[in-house]
């Protein structure tokens, strides 16, 4: 659906659901995934529909992903980091008691 306007000059590699994605340094996770043809970022807890970015400016929360070590984040507001591991947002997480 989306094409990069320019060739990747400074590649950054990260994993999405175990698959390696190559992106441009400075990309947001959302931009990198869309450029790699991924549109299904998460499954909506309300109705189990497939969801992906809508606004790309941090407003709609449709782009939620789960970043290893950070947890639930908006993919359009986080930059790619070499070696990071990202998964689809798991839907309704069961909150745990805090110590």
């Amino acid at each position: 659906m989306f094409r990069r306007g320019q060739e990747i000059a400074n590649p950054v590699r990260f994993k999405f659901n175990g698959q390696t994605i190559t992106s441009e340094d400075g990309d947001t996770i959302a931009a990198a995934l869309l450029a790699a043809g991924v549109t299904h970022f998460r499954t909506a807890p309300e109705d189990a529909s497939n969801r992906g970015p809508l606004c790309m400016i941090g407003n709609c929360f449709e782009c939620l992903v789960d970043i290893k070590g950070k947890g639930s984040r908006q993919a359009c507001r986080e930059r790619v980091v070499e070696g990071m591991s990202v998964r689809s947002h798991p839907g309704l997480v069961v909150p745990k008691a805090q110590p």
Binding site: P45, L64, G71, S72, L92, K96, A97
Partner: protein, 368 residues
């Protein structure tokens, strides 16, 4: 003959409940509302159907809230059957105390109301930490809560939508983006509603001024005094998580879709709906004391909205003496009172008189 039996100024929670109640009773009515840039408390509230603590300084308000809560189930069911919109109404609510002192104050307040109301009708339970934890395992190390079946929560945006949809289905005309600039009494006892340029928007036999913070401006030229001010409340919204609590508490509730709403604060800052970090941090901090796990959730958004607040916090229901077809109604807790506004107050207007037992809600009480 006037175009309408009743013209309602303001399509917020009050006006919409009146419009629905009147249309349901067969009255010809029109509801004038502003647009998306207006101050609209109906779109910024916390969604509680709440009785606990209401009316400490006026027993009539405690009974009135209780009556509203008793009617709320039927109200929600009727709206759902008519529109297909489930208001997500859940009965039962906690007032959770963050510390011992809060708990003592809450209990003392409820006992006072209970004594004023003659006991039995105003029942509540005190839950200690252990009992509360057995009901909501994620609760923190806090002393406990009070609980009553009379409290509850709903989705207030769906309430507003259902009222708008069904009052129109029942024949009322809803006119958004159509501010009323003045109400002009005519010699035959009916009224003209005019826009800013002096064009006649409608004529009506009776008028309800329920325009929230816009009401004073309409009332003044008619000689109606409405002592209200804005009390700002800020609310925080978290990301959605699996169900933790079914029942609301007065400061934390989980919505049907899994988000937590935290708040609301209370501050007098005039007509200012902006949020500020200090207020939001104070809300978050208290809520995290109650539910420590909230500290690990991401916040999605925050907003501020303006309560319509009378000097004693209790409703104002009045009929103009000089212009007896004009009613001016204003109150906080428009979600809670929606059921009595629709089922009972609407008929005061068709009858043309506020029943004597509700005389306590006249603003003359502020002038003694």
């Amino acid at each position: 003959m006037a175009d309408y039996d009743v013209a309602i100024v303001g399509g917020g929670l009050l006006g919409s409940a009146f419009g629905w109640g009147l249309a349901r009773a067969g009255a010809r009515c029109v509801v004038f509302d502003e647009g998306d840039n207006a101050i609209r408390t109906a779109r910024g509230n916390f969604g509680l159907v709440w009785v606990q603590g209401k009316g400490q300084n006026m027993p009539a308000y405690a009974s009135w809230s209780l009556r509203a809560s008793r009617l709320w189930g039927d109200f929600a069911t009727e709206l759902c059957e008519a529109t297909g919109i489930n208001l997500q109404y859940v009965k039962g609510g906690y007032d959770i105390a963050a510390d011992e002192q809060e708990l003592e104050q809450t209990i003392a307040g409820l006992k006072k109301i209970q004594a004023q109301m003659g006991g039995a009708a105003y029942d509540f339970e005190v839950l200690d930490h252990k009992v509360l934890k057995s009901e909501i395992p994620l609760v923190g190390n806090i002393p406990g809560a009070t609980y009553t079946e009379h409290d509850g929560h709903c989705n207030p945006l769906l309430l507003l939508r259902a009222l708008h949809q069904d009052m129109q289905a029942k024949g009322a005309l809803y006119r958004p983006n159509c501010p009323v600039a003045s109400v002009n009494p005519l010699s035959g006892g009916s009224y003209q509603l005019l826009d800013r340029s002096g064009n006649v928007l409608a004529t009506a036999g009776k008028v309800i001024v329920s325009a929230g913070h816009g009401s004073r401006r309409l009332n003044e030229p008619l000689g109606i005094d409405l002592p209200i001010r804005a009390d700002q409340g800020q609310v925080l919204v978290t990301e959605k998580v699996a169900p933790v609590m079914k029942h609301a508490s007065s400061s934390v509730r989980q919505t049907d879709n899994g988000s937590f709403l935290l708040g609301p604060s209370s501050k007098d800052v005039g007509h200012d709906t902006r949020t500020d970090l200090k207020t939001l941090a104070a809300i978050a901090s208290r809520c995290i004391t109650i539910f420590p796990f909230l500290g690990s959730l991401r916040l999605q958004r925050a907003w501020g909205a303006l309560r319509v607040m009378t000097p004693d916090g209790n409703p104002v229901y009045q009929q103009s003496e000089a212009h007896p077809g004009v009613f001016s109604f204003a109150c906080h807790s428009g979600v809670t009172l929606a059921a009595v506004h629709a089922f009972e107050v609407a008929s005061w207007v068709t009858d043309g008189v506020i029943p004597a037992e509700f005389g306590v809600f006249h603003p003359r009480r502020f002038n003694v």
